[in-house]
Subunit: 453 residues, 2 copies
Amino acid sequence: IENKQYIRARDELLKNNEVDIAEILEEVLEKLDVESTIIVFRMLPKDVAVEVFSYLPSEDQVEIIHGITDREISYIIKELDFDDKIDVLEELPANLVDKILEKTPKEERKLINTFLNYPENSAGSLMTPDYISLQDNMTVGEALAYIKKEGMDSETVYTCYVKEKGRKLEGIVSLRSLVINDEDVKISELMGTDYVYVNVYDDQEEVSEAFKKYGFLAIPVVDKEHRLVGIITVDDILDVIEEETTEDIERMAGVMDDSDTEYLDMSVLRHVRNRLPWLFILMCSYIITGGIIGSFEATLSQVICLVAYMPMLMGTGGNSGSQSATLIIRSLALDDIDFSDIGRVIWKEFRVSLIIGIVLSTLNFIRICWLEPGGAGTGPGPGGWGYGPMIATTVCGSMLLIVIAAKIIGSVLPMVAKRIGIDPALMATPMISSLTDMVSVVTYMLLATALVL
Amino acid sequence: IENKQYIRARDELLKNNEVDIAEILEEVLEKLDVESTIIVFRMLPKDVAVEVFSYLPSEDQVEIIHGITDREISYIIKELDFDDKIDVLEELPANLVDKILEKTPKEERKLINTFLNYPENSAGSLMTPDYISLQDNMTVGEALAYIKKEGMDSETVYTCYVKEKGRKLEGIVSLRSLVINDEDVKISELMGTDYVYVNVYDDQEEVSEAFKKYGFLAIPVVDKEHRLVGIITVDDILDVIEEETTEDIERMAGVMDDSDTEYLDMSVLRHVRNRLPWLFILMCSYIITGGIIGSFEATLSQVICLVAYMPMLMGTGGNSGSQSATLIIRSLALDDIDFSDIGRVIWKEFRVSLIIGIVLSTLNFIRICWLEPGGAGTGPGPGGWGYGPMIATTVCGSMLLIVIAAKIIGSVLPMVAKRIGIDPALMATPMISSLTDMVSVVTYMLLATALVL
């Protein structure tokens, strides 16, 4: 559609929801060039443009900002909701921010500066100061009239906040109860005082926990003196939950990533920096495993076919361990279990792994004894009839022990990590599998030395 | 507190938010017995009891249902919000459900039966029929009066739905715009008609995507004839997002779990059933890897110290692959990339893995040549000075190739899986690591045979 037929394109666009327009613009930016995106963007009606702008990813916002006039920038910044405004300003280069701030009224400039100073990922950086605040001596009628006047600019009108004179938060009242009750009822009779709140410096993870637990539409943010400084609404929290989940999942795979840049937008060097540290640490742990194998070379060189079973034992150990680790990490994250449950967890994992170990060992024993009576498969190894059953016993005995050990390591390690204040997600798959590999090799080699030789 | 001082306990409890009371009751149930929990529960004021009940996990709800009188059950069921009611009824045994349904009015019984028939995890199973429906010829004043009358029983009053005579959904209007506008404005002027909706049979994952994308407080659910049958509110979606994430994470670790039972509440056999299938499949794949090693026994038995480096190569390959797989799976889940990006993904992964591979290989080469000139560590292996550099070259060359292969397999496989309609999460760590192990062994052994011998 985009071959210079901009007007038709615009009319097509305008049939969509703002979120979808933003998505289409993103694609245009990716597939065509910045110029045509900016042309399309500038052709949107002003109010739609502001909405669309707020839904674009921050890199695209910066590109567009560079392509439009200062007057257009001021208009967009002025019309954005306060929390979106802060997000945009955080991403922009400092000189541009200064230019924009020059043009905003003094009052608002002060407020923006305060907000820009909250640490990233704190409740303060998520909140907006655009909420409805009422007094407890108002009547429902007065409150509704006030909301009618102020409601357009407020992030939400569905939860209103009652403040006492010192700006301290006294209680909350929902628009529902205002609408349901009669005009002359006092706010003080309706407001709830057992509200849940968060502190400005609380981490966004705690904020999203509160939303998940209580199912609120908005939560008040207070400072040290319990003064209401802003609110956070549930739509902003959905993004936070997604971000936190991504972080957890990536950590579990040994990727360190503290930005929320999309995969394709991240530079190659950045990818390397995110992934190399863990790969290096884990590689070092495998040097130890290698050393252990080295010390058993005598055993190995006598019965070389033992080597063929090594990947299976190490692999199964690693997979068993990471299953347990993943379940435990997730349960810890959801607060389903805590450190005091460690005994029950170990007992459960022990029984689970005993059954799994026995099943897998038995299957293996049958396979090795019947299908490969001479030892390891197709190879011309030195193992003859004499070794067969002994090797089968070694492999299967190791399998059982390894599965049990792996599952117990996999469940205990994340719990201990959480206890001593390390993120349990770091104890996931890569960590567990390099540890269980070590255990696997030792178990297997010791058993082999004892049984086969 | 719970040693028979129930009255004091109750007074303590009532100082808390209902969500927190539910949590305390859960703990009581876990640490003491069902009887005392029920005593405490029955001492709560009726309205609090209903709220608390709705926040309890379903197993605990069933236990409490069994401990209280039929009259108390009917009261609770009657007072619960419609969607919570459905959730409870879904968990209860059939005879109890029949008993409860007998006592509910005919009209509602019909509605309940319809809702119980929607497939689990569909939009229909999440929705509630308690919404505010308006007509487009109403004025704002009439609408507010209607909300005042009906608003108490509605799940949300903040988004109202405008239906035409055939029960078809015409548009939506927010309570905000009702409150902001004057009494005599017609609803038809205020309502938005470009609303987003879901179908009753849509999967809950699609519903939660819509919430994440548009940031709604509620979404309308329509049937095939575009008739409004219910709404889903954002607080119910937070639970869904959590559930879906858990499912994804567990799948990525090779755990098949289609229930949302907590870790400790699941039986040992259930745990075994969830974990054994993948462990077994993966074990079989390792048999192939073993076979490959077996076919290289000649090489191995000549230079036994090669074995010592095997875990490091396989482990690093597995970790590299699962890093890429995890990033790609997550990006696919968030719709950041799709199949058409496969070229760019491969090119990015190639460059990333080239750098990582060179760094890790170089470090290894230095270590092997300088620290272990004789071969593998402490072992009395047959490798002497002569083998040293050749082994180092083999190991490091393999390392580079393996990292590149692993990262490309790890990124391509999930994308292909998604393309052919398999959940990409199944292609995660265990699958990728057993595949890369195979590749690692082949690469290493071929290179070793070529270079060392």
